[in-house]
Every structure is written in C-alpha cells, then in structure tokens.
C-alpha cells in the first residue's frame, strides 16, 4: 500500500508539473462547456414573437398585455393564416407564434378551459424550449391570477408545437456530451500517453525490474486520472448548474457513480492502447482517431443516431460513450433513476469488465 501511495504521489507530480497536461485537464472542460453553452444558449430576452389573435376578447387581451409586459418578449400582432405563419418562420426573425383561437374568452367562461397554441422554431432547440417555458409560465401565472377568487378554476392549456424538430433532439445534450468527451480525452488519452511515456523513456523497464507488481504499476498510473476526471465531472456540473442554469434533476450521487464507471471504462481503454503502442504520438493518434471521433459521431451528442443508416446505428452500440451519454442525459435532464437506467449501466459495466480483462491479459503476454 505504501508503495502504491509513493507511486501515486509521483504520478501527481508528473501531472501537476506539466503545464500542457494541466491545461488540457482543466482548461478544456471549462472552455468546452462555455463555448458549447453560450453558442447554444441564446438569451430569450426581447425575443420577437408574433401574436395571431382570432378571439380579440377580454381574456386574450389581458393575457397579451401580460406577455408583452415581461422583458422577455416583443409582441407584434398580425392576422395570418396557417401558411403565412410558416413562411414568417422561415425568414427566421420570429422566435414563436402565439395563436388565440376564436371564442377564447367564451370557452374559458363556459367550459372553464381554453387553449392557446404556441408554435416555436425548434431548429434552435434551446431557444425554442426556453421561449415555450417562459410563455407557459406566464400563462399559468395569468390562470392563477383569474382563478384567485373562483370556485371552479379556469384552465388554459398551452398547446405547444415545436416546428422542424418536434422531438427536441440535442436539447441540453451538450453538457452530457461534453462530459463524455472530456472524460474520454482525459482518461483514455492521458492514461495511454503517460504509460507509453514510461516505455519511451525506459523507466517502465526499471519499474518492471522492481518488486512493485506490474499490475499495480498500471493501476497506480491510472489512479490519478480517475481522481482528476472526477474533479472534471464536478467542474462541469458546477459550470452547468451555476453558469448555464442547467440543473441536475436526478440524483447527483448516481451521476457520480455512473461517471466513475465510465471513467474506468475509459481508463481500461487507455491502458489497452498503451500496451499495444510504443510511442506517445501513436498513442495519442489512436486515442484521438479511435475514441474521440466515434464519440462525436456515435454518441448521439451532435448527430441523432435515429437518423443514421442502420449499419451505423448498429456500430454506435459498441461505442461506450453512447451509453454514458444516454445515462447522463437521463439523469441530468429527465431526472431518471437507476431503475430506468439499469440496462445502459449493465452494458457499460460489461464493456468495462471486458476491456479490463483484455488489457490485463495483453499486458501479461507482453511481459513474457
């Protein structure tokens, strides 16, 4: 144990002394989160929205005033047909269209319920989502206001339509995506490089001649990266919660447990690469081409897997990041628990065990 600690301490010295490593380790996740975050998150403030009011009655006017008085929206009124609405959207200036059906007030008074249609341009998913959320909450607000002194409550149901991208693929997906990317980079590439570096400089030989067990060498080399990766997970989560306002809906503990699992998957991959290669450059290239590209392509982070040709969909299943991405997205955004994610977790666990076994086995063969 003491030997192990001496080794781990040495690894930390290596990491902390290498400016470039540090930059990749901590600069990258922060930069990525901020770039992705602000590139994809548009301020909803002063969004142009178009109102098509077929009712023109008390209720619709009141609700409109309420919407207009919020700082988020600039309202323009127009009487447009359905087709005209679509062509206005295509011009791209309008973020949303709110449609009041005729008899809005009457429906509300006689049936105690009425509908408002909200149509958004979901090609920009984040904005669409946010506009819808703001509008819905203003409507709920109004509903509560008029319900304040009523026995039978009125209900206004916003009917939301996301144009162009009804399933909202990619919404908030970048945080889980960046998480998968960063962990992959840190764990696979850094581990692979740091082990191969020892081979290159000849220190690996010295370690193997020492009574320190070879398997422990591997674990001791991987351990600091596990710790640093967890620091990264924490940093990304803090950034996403406090800078991007994207809360973690599910269990944070579960999120960390799943992240640890994925980090171990990555470490196993990194170890495998380091055993099969003998120069830092090759190790880096393989990590980048062999791991980073598939993650970007097949995790569903940037390109929806459902839209891919079937062979590619099948291939995507062997990319560990895909499963991690699904897990993180489900926990962070949907708030799902382990009960809903056991299948993905099991797949990831299987992959981890497989990779660990394969790398330890090839390590032993190499020793002979």
């Amino acid at each position: 144990m003491k030997q192990f600690l001496a080794f781990v301490r040495k690894e930390f010295y290596h990491v902390l002394r290498d400016r470039r490593t540090l930059l990749i380790l901590f600069g990258m996740p922060i930069a990525q989160i901020l770039i992705f975050g602000f590139a994809l998150t548009n301020e909803v403030k002063d969004s142009e929205i178009l109102v098509v009011d077929y009712a023109k009655d008390n209720a619709s006017q009141e609700l409109l005033t309420k919407i207009g008085s919020s700082r988020y929206f600039n309202i323009r009124q127009a009487a447009l047909s359905h087709n005209e609405i679509l062509s206005t959207f295509r011009k791209g200036k309008i973020k949303a269209v709110v449609v009041f059906p005729a008899h809005f007030n009457e429906d509300l008074l006689h049936q105690n319920k009425a509908q408002v249609q909200i149509i958004t341009d979901a090609s920009d998913v984040n904005t669409a989502n946010m506009v819808t959320n703001y509008l819905s909450s203003i409507i709920v607000d109004y509903q509560n206001q008029i319900n304040a002194n009523l026995e039978i409550p009125y209900r206004i149901t916003p009917e939301v339509r996301m144009l162009y991208n009804p399933q909202l693929k990619g919404a908030h997906g970048f945080v889980p995506g960046v998480m998968a990317l960063v962990l992959l980079l840190v764990s696979v590439m850094m581990t692979a490089i740091s082990i191969v570096r020892e081979k290159e400089t000849g220190t690996m030989e010295i370690l193997l001649v020492s009574p320190f067990k070879p398997v422990l060498v591997i674990f001791a080399k991987a351990f600091p990266y596990l710790a640093l990766s967890l620091v990264n997970v924490t940093a990304i989560l803090l950034l996403s919660v406090f800078v991007l306002d994207l809360p973690v809906k599910g269990s944070v503990a579960l999120l960390f447990a799943e992240s640890t699992l994925f980090i171990i998957t990555c470490l196993a991959l990194g170890i495998f690469i380091s055993i099969k290669t003998s120069s830092q450059q090759v190790a880096m290239l393989i990590s980048l081409m062999g791991m980073l590209l598939p993650t970007i392509m097949f995790s569903g982070f940037l390109f929806p897997i459902e839209n891919m040709p079937l062979p590619l969909q099948v291939i995507s299943n062997i990319v560990p990041s895909k499963w991690f991405y699904i897990i993180v997205k489900s926990i962070m955004i949907k708030g799902l628990g382990l009960a809903a994610l056991w299948r993905e977790t099991l797949i990831l666990l299987g992959m981890t065990l497989f990779l660990l076994l394969v790398s330890l086995k090839s390590f032993k063969i190499r020793l002979q």
Binding site: K2, Q3, L5, A6, F7, R9, K10, Y13, H14, R17, D18, T201, G202, T203, E205, I206, L207, L208, V209, S210, P211, F212, L367, Q368
Partner: protein
C-alpha cells in the same frame, strides 16, 4: 564454501523465440562482490540473458538462481534482491533529485526513516546537496548517470545489473563512475555489467564474451589477453566477434 559464495548460478540457460535461439545454453557462476563484465556485439544475446536473470523474461530451458532464488518460480524474490540500471537514462526528468530518490525508495518498500537517511547520505556522497530540489532534467548527463547508479543500489541489493551504464559519458565521469562501482563491490554488492568500452572491460574481475547467443569465453582480463596472444581487450574482442554471424 565456494557454493555459498555464488550469487548467480547459471546452467545451460536458453531462450528461444520461435526458431531463433537468442541465448544458447549459457553456463556460468558469479561470486559475491565480484565485478562481472558481460560483453558481446549488438545482437549477441546479452539483453535477453540479462532479462532472464532479472526475472523479466522466463527462460525456455536450463537452470538459474539469482541470490539463491529460482528464475522460473521466484521472480518476485529476485526482484527484491537486485538493482537495475539501464542504458537509457531512467530516472524521472520532471521530478527533483530528492523526489526520485524518495520514489524509488518507496516502491522498493523502504521505511520512511530509511529513505530519509539514505537520501541524506546519498546527496552528501554525490555532492548534490544543493541540487536536491532541482529537477533531474537540469542535471548534466554525468551526474544523472551517477544518480541512476546510486538509486539502483539504494535498497542495498545483492546484485546490481548495469546495462551499458556509461554510454555517452565523458572519460572523467566514466572513471568516477567506475570508482562508485568499485565502492559498491567492496561493500559486497555483486556487479553485473555490460559495456562496449574495452577499457572498462579491463576494470572487471572476470569477463565473458557472448557471440551469436553462446558464451564463447569466460576468464579474467589478464588470462584472456594471454590466451588470445593479445595486447588489449580490444584485440580479444575483435578476434571473437569477427566470427559472429549475427549482427544488428
């Protein structure tokens, strides 16, 4: 009494890689405190033999014990009792002198107290006290090699294996380096050294020369020179190596 005194016992030790016989039935003994020169052209099978003796690679056939431990079954024990210094400089460049010493002391399982006293003693002896907290990368090569050697014998091994330890080092530093080797040998550490410098070969108590995987000769430098009617070890080496079929 001779029996007890042997720290390396090798009998027909052989390593095959497929059809290729890298080390072919080498047989020799090395005694305690001896400086044993292990010579041979590149590709003669030195490295393979040394890897087997260090417990890094399992022999194909033959017998060998290192410090009394079997090379097939007791590699863990062997590793505790040997030190190793490779031809490549193999300390960590981005660790300080002190950290390197502490690290290697640590993985050899030395106690904190022992590491501390060893570190102080070593820094004193090498005259590196003022450089203790400098990165090893900033030291000149000669110092690095001396430090490497000191680290290799830090845990007081029975045998230290030196694989071309003085490559690229200037003559003065080489001379100093050999002083350290003698010192280690006097304190009872057996030194097993490979080299391409024939003047260094003369410093050894006994020399073996490998040609094409076989150990052609094994004797003291003086005996070798007289039996080959040679004036220097250089000539002995050329006469033997000329017959080699394997090369780089």
């Amino acid at each position: 009494m001779m029996q007890d005194d042997r720290v390396i016992v090798c009998e027909k030790l052989t390593k095959r890689f497929g059809d290729f016989v890298a080390t072919n039935e080498i047989t020799f003994d090395v005694h305690r405190g001896e400086i044993f020169g292990f010579l041979g052209a590149n590709g003669a099978g030195k490295t393979t033999a040394m890897r087997m003796l260090c417990g890094l690679s399992s022999p194909s056939s033959g017998k060998a014990t290192i410090a009394g431990f079997d090379v097939y079954t007791q590699t863990e024990q062997i590793k505790k009792h040997i030190g190793y210094m490779s031809q490549k400089f193999s300390l960590y460049e981005n660790l300080t002198v002190r950290e390197n010493i502490e690290f290697f002391g640590g993985i050899y399982g030395l106690s904190d107290e022992r590491i501390r006293s060893k570190t102080a003693e070593l820094l004193q002896r090498l005259g590196l006290k003022s450089e203790a907290n400098k990165l090893v990368a900033s030291l000149p090569l000669g110092w690095k090699q001396k430090l490497s050697f000191s680290v290799a014998v830090l845990h007081e091994p029975k045998i230290v294996f030196l694989d071309e330890p003085t490559g690229g080092v200037d003559p003065v530093t080489r001379r100093q380096f050999w002083d350290m080797i003698y010192e280690a040998a006097n304190s009872g550490i057996t030194v097993f050294v490979t080299t391409h410098y024939m003047d260094e070969a003369e410093y050894c108590n006994r020399i073996s020369i490998m040609v094409d995987g076989r150990m052609e000769v094994l004797d003291t430098p003086a005996n070798l020179k007289s039996s080959f009617h040679a004036r220097s070890m250089d000539e002995v080496f050329y006469q033997l190596a000329r017959g080699a079929k394997r090369g780089d």
